[in-house]
Amino acid sequence: MTNFFLILLNLLLISSYSKAEFYSEHYGEIEVSSTIFLEDIEGDNRKNFLNSTNVEYNYFFEKDNLTGKLKMNIKDSYPGSAQNLDFNEAYLDYAFENTNILAGNNIVFWGKNEFYNPVDIINSKDYSLGLASGKKIGQTMFNIKRYFSSSELDFYILPSNTNIYPKSQVRSQQTLNIKSKNNYSKGAKKENLGIGLRWSGYIDEYDYGLTFYKGNTKDPALIVSSNQLVPNYSEITQIGIELQATQGDFLHKGEFINRSNQYNLDGNIDDYYGFIVGTEHTLYGLFEKNWDLSNIIEYTYDSRGSKSHHSNQNDLFYGARLILNDIDDTQYFISLQNDIDKNTRAMTFNYESRFFSQFKGGIDMYVPINLEDDYHQSSFKDEVNFKIYTSYAF
C-alpha cells in the first residue's frame, strides 16, 4: 500500500511539472469538536468526553484526459483514536470517449434512501471516534465506468478492507470492548479480492440502480468471544435494487437486497433479504416565510428479525429538516428511530449554521429514550451525548 502512495505522489509531481496545459487546486477544512456524555458507565475506563481535531487537505489536478486527487485526513483526539491518518481519496482517473478508468482509493455511494442504505457496500467504515459516528474509509479499487445516454455501468475490482473500531476509552461503544484482530472464515480471507457491479440511471421521473457485490462483508457481525466482541468476516454475495420516483413535492424511495453467507448476531451463517422503503415530502415557504420543511419517513426490514447483525431489522424512522434559507444557511434536523419489535426509541438532533463567512458551527445530540430492551442497541442506553463543533474551510 505504501508503494502505491509513493507511485501516486510521484505521478502527481511529474504531472505538475509537465508543460502541457495543467490545472490544479488545493483546498481543505479544519474541524474542532468536543463531545460530552452525560451519564457515567460504571466499572470501565471509558471517558465521558471526546475532544477531536481533524485537518482535511485536498489536492486535485487535471491535465488532458488525466485527473488525480489526493484527500488526506489527519486526526488527533483525546482519548486517542484508533486511526490518525487516512487517504480516503488518492486516485488517478483516465477518461476517453465515454469511459473512465480509475485506480486508487475512493469513496463510492450506492443507494437512494436517507437513514440507511443496505445496497451501499463498497466502503468499509471508520468508527474510531465512536460507533455512532462511522465514516467511510477510502476503498482501494480498480474501477471502469462506461457512460450511456441516461445511465452508467460501473465495474469494480476491490482488494479487501476492514472496519476500524474505537479503542476501549472512546464512547459511544458496545458494552464489551471490540477486539482489534478480525476473524476470517466462510470464504473470507485477509487478502481477498472482491468485485462490484452497478448499473444506474433514470427513465423519466424514475431513478434506478441494480447492484452486485461479491467479496468480504463490509459490516461484520460482532460476536462475543472471551469477553470481547470479535468482528467476524465472511465472503458474501449481495444483489441489490434501488429505486426513486420523483413526483411533485414527494420523493418515494426504496432499496432491496438479497445477501448470502453473512454472519448473524448469534454467530451463525445466514442467507437473508432486507429492504428500506420511504417517502420524503417538502413543504416550501412554511408560515409564509422562506423556510422549507422536509419530512422523511422510512421503514426498514430484515428477514432474520432479531438475529440480524445490524439494528435496522424492523424499524421506523422519522426525520424533519428545517432549512431557514437565510444567508448563513441555518438548518435544523431532528430524527427518531423506533424499533417496532420492542417499541424502543432513540432521538437525534442537529443544528448547523455558518458564521464569519468561512466558519461553520453546529450541535449534535443523541438521546436514547428507552433502549434497555432493544435487541441491538441496548448498550447505547446510557450514551446520551451532545457534540459541539466548528469548522473552517479554506
Binding site: Y27, E29, F109, Y147, T246, Y284, D292, I327, A393
Partner: protein, 268 residues
C-alpha cells in the same frame, strides 16, 4: 336613426378595442419571441458567477459558482444547465443539474453532494423557493418560454435602469398556478431587445422585487450577456447582486455532460 347610430358606434368601439387588445397581446408575444430568438444558436456556454447576498442590516454573504449551459435544439424541451459551487468553501463542489421542461411539467433536477459522493434527484416543484438563500427564486432563474405566459404590450418608455434607452414595457402573466407571482413587468430595450429591468408582483399583486440587468457585453458578435444582475426585494430590504465573468461559448460541451451520471465529473 339616433338609436341606430348609437348602437353602430358602440359596436365599432367594442370591435376596435378588441382589435387593439389583441394587437397589444400579439405585440407583447412577438417582442418576447424575437428577444428569445436572438439568443438561439449559442450551442453551449460557461461562465463564472459571484453572488453577493445582503440582508437588511447590510450583512453580506458570498456564493461563487461556475455555470454550464447546453442549448437544447428540440423546442419541446428546455435547455440543460449545471451550477457548480466554489464558495463558500464548505460547499465547494456541490452541484445542481437542471433539465428544464416546458410548462406545466416541472424541471428535472439532481444535486451532487461531494462530501458523500452522492447524486440525488430532488423535487423541482419549488418554483417560489430561494436559490441558495438569495433573493432569486428558482422561477426567476429559468428561461422565459413563450408558452408559459400571457404577454401584453403596455407602452414604450425610457428604460428605468438606463433612461438613455427606449424600452418596450410588457406584462407577463404566468399560466402556471404554482408561480409565486401574479405578474411580471418586463422592460426590453427597443434597439437590441435585451432585458433591462423586470418588476415582480407577488400573488397579492404588490410590487415585491426589482431586477436590473447592467453592463451588457456582446459575444461572438451576436449574443448579449449582462455582466451584472441586481435584484432588490422592496418589501424586505434584502438584495442580491450577481456578477458574471469569463463567458465562453461553444466550448465543445456534449449533451452527455449534462447527465446525472456525469455530475460528479463536471463538479470537479
Amino acid at each position: 336613426m339616433k338609436i341606430f347610430i348609437i348602437t353602430l358606434t358602440s359596436i365599432l368601439t367594442l370591435f376596435c378595442s378588441q382589435i387593439f387588445a389583441q394587437s397589444a397581446e400579439e405585440k407583447g408575444l412577438e417582442i418576447i419571441e424575437k428577444s428569445i430568438a436572438l439568443d438561439n444558436g449559442f450551442v453551449d456556454s460557461t461562465v463564472v458567477g459571484k453572488m453577493i447576498l445582503k440582508d437588511k442590516s447590510g450583512n453580506e454573504s458570498v456564493r461563487s459558482f461556475k455555470n454550464f449551459i447546453f442549448e437544447e435544439l428540440d423546442e419541446t424541451l428546455g435547455d440543460k444547465s449545471i451550477i457548480v459551487f466554489t464558495e463558500p468553501r464548505d460547499v465547494k463542489g456541490t452541484s445542481l443539474l437542471t433539465h428544464a421542461n416546458i410548462e406545466p411539467n416541472d424541471d428535472d433536477q439532481w444535486l451532487y453532494l461531494p462530501a458523500l459522493k452522492r447524486v440525488k434527484r430532488i423535487s423541482s416543484s419549488n418554483r417560489t423557493g430561494k436559490f441558495v438563500s438569495s433573493e432569486f427564486s428558482y422561477e426567476d432563474l429559468s428561461t422565459d418560454e413563450p408558452e408559459d405566459y400571457n404577454f401584453l404590450w403596455l407602452e414604450d418608455i425610457n428604460c428605468p435602469a438606463d433612461p438613455s434607452l427606449q424600452c418596450h414595457v410588457i406584462e407577463a402573466t404566468p399560466k402556471n398556478k404554482k408561480s409565486g407571482y401574479s405578474k411580471r413587468v418586463i422592460y426590453i430595450d427597443v434597439s437590441e431587445l435585451r432585458y433591462q429591468t423586470v418588476k415582480f408582483h407577488n400573488r397579492r399583486g404588490d410590487l415585491e422585487k426589482e431586477l436590473d440587468f447592467k453592463s451588457y457585453q456582446k459575444y461572438l458578435d451576436k449574443f448579449w450577456r449582462a455582466d451584472i444582475l441586481e435584484m432588490k426585494n422592496l418589501q424586505t430590504g434584502k438584495s442580491t447582486n450577481i456578477t458574471w465573468e469569463n463567458y465562453e461559448f461553444q466550448t465543445n460541451l456534449s449533451i452527455n455532460d449534462f447527465n446525472p451520471e456525469k455530475l460528479a465529473k463536471m463538479a470537479r
